[in-house]
Symmetry: C2
């Protein structure tokens, strides 16, 4: 049972976590915090939080667990604001899609990695954002990756592990840099490609027709291009190094495919398509 | 009412068309044709067709309407096989995702564009294939593009237009080259990107983890990479010119984005992502 939980950034992820823990009776009091009091008022009205404070340094007062669930670009400032204001036993966690940057932000803001910091990343979400899109079952049967470091206190790890298990998630531990490489490939690059494709097509003369004659394939392929641009721009910058690495691999492969299309090398194209299909069919049920 | 309908290629599209027309009582007799008699036996057992012949030249005998619904790479051979065997009033159509190539295949096979040929493309499908995946409502509220040429007989056009309207589709006319450019952008390029992405990721050291930690975004983004490799390799070759044009536009935009990620130019990235999101939200309901 968490006595006092502070959620900084009560959006889709923060809001859904609050709803899930509340529904399980796993939390006594939830304090919301964000820059926009309008959003916090909505969260209060929806019963997602019990009270709020737009000032991070006050919102974290006496909190047992602090969850930073705001875009990655704001994490360092939030850490700075809570520096010196946390209870000594407070466990701090986050939900960012990149993990090395959160660890570096903590080092910069606190002057060291706080032993109570457990960097975390729930692999869940939709293209929607904001507390209005939140729902308690968001994490059910999804994976949450924790990336503790050498400094991390084991009690803090088990506290955050328990918290996520209550939401129905499966908790997995990964090394932060490894997490960042895997997620660059599986999530950050696809988002970047979807945004880039829609933008590239929009610049073509026939762009009205392009959207008009698009079918389910295009709709699904570009669904993630309806994601929050601020959040995703933060992720692309925060995980820049790993993202560039995987972009290079992808661009080289795409150049190879283009060459084969130009040459009319049907066998090479069919081989590649077949390999991709069988891998996807095998891994994605 | 179509008295005798011959469908060459009784897969997802050909099978669904047969089921839809039969359910509407719009056809008297349906003859299936394909190279695989196993597939035709399944189609017969499912009641999708009334009888079959694996020989195109016999299957089209006395047919009022012939629908070629096999991969684009086989269209020319099929046209050649039906040459001289068609009833004089027969209307011929197809369902291919590229249209200029079908017109050229007809010219090569028949020595001219038959006035009864109405090239067509239903913008519908799933990543599944085969007659087992067919269902009569597949075309409901989808668009079907007809790309008649100067030689095309207007009675043939209205016959095929009526046929598709019966399935619940909306029928639209486009110029063949224009169709091919639009579809290269909206469908062929996304498929190629999805196949290429899955294949590129599979080559990374961490590829097991990549698939393990993928979420809904990746699943949707790569759904079309589970499409039939033969069919899609045919489409990429058949619509090569338009596809290469749109690949170049996309690759230039991707190179721009990579440059901005390397430079850490957050404003440029956010601007592009925001523009893409607002376009997608506006066009895809």
């Amino acid at each position: 049972m968490i006595k006092r939980l502070c959620i900084v950034g009560v959006g889709l992820i923060g809001g859904s976590l609050a709803m899930s823990l509340r529904a399980a009776g796993a939390v006594e009091e939830i304090i919301g915090c964000s820059r926009s009091s309008a959003n916090l008022k909505t969260a209060l009205r929806l019963g997602v939080i019990d009270r709020f404070d737009t000032d991070v340094s006050k919102a974290v007062n006496n909190a047992d667990v602090v969850v930073v669930a705001s875009p990655l670009g704001s994490v360092r400032t939030i850490f700075e604001a809570m520096q010196g204001r946390l209870a000594s036993h407070a466990v701090i966690t986050d939900v960012g899609s990149a993990k090395r940057c959160v660890i570096e932000d903590a080092r910069a803001a606190f002057g060291h990695i706080p032993p109570g910091l457990v960097p975390a990343h729930p692999i869940a979400g939709t293209e929607k954002s904001g507390v209005n899109a939140a729902f308690g079952k968001l994490f059910q049967d999804h994976r949450v990756i924790l990336t503790p470091v050498a400094e991390t206190n084991s009690d803090a790890i088990s506290c955050i592990e328990k918290m996520w298990k209550i939401t129905g998630a499966e908790v997995v531990m990964l090394e932060p840099d490894y997490h960042d490489e895997v997620l660059a490939a599986t999530s950050h690059l696809p988002h970047l490609l979807a945004f880039t494709l829609v933008d590239a097509l929009a610049r073509m003369d026939q762009h009205d027709e392009i959207f008009r004659f698009s079918a389910g394939g295009f709709r699904d392929f570009t669904r993630i291009a309806s994601s929050d641009p601020t959040m995703w721009h933060d992720i692309c910058l925060a995980n820049r190094e790993a993202l560039i690495g995987v972009m290079e691999i992808f661009e080289a492969q795409l150049a190879y495919v283009r060459e084969k299309v130009i040459e009319g090398d049907g066998e090479a194209i069919k081989t590649l398509f077949s390999r991709a299909k069988s891998l996807r069919d095998q891994h994605i049920k």
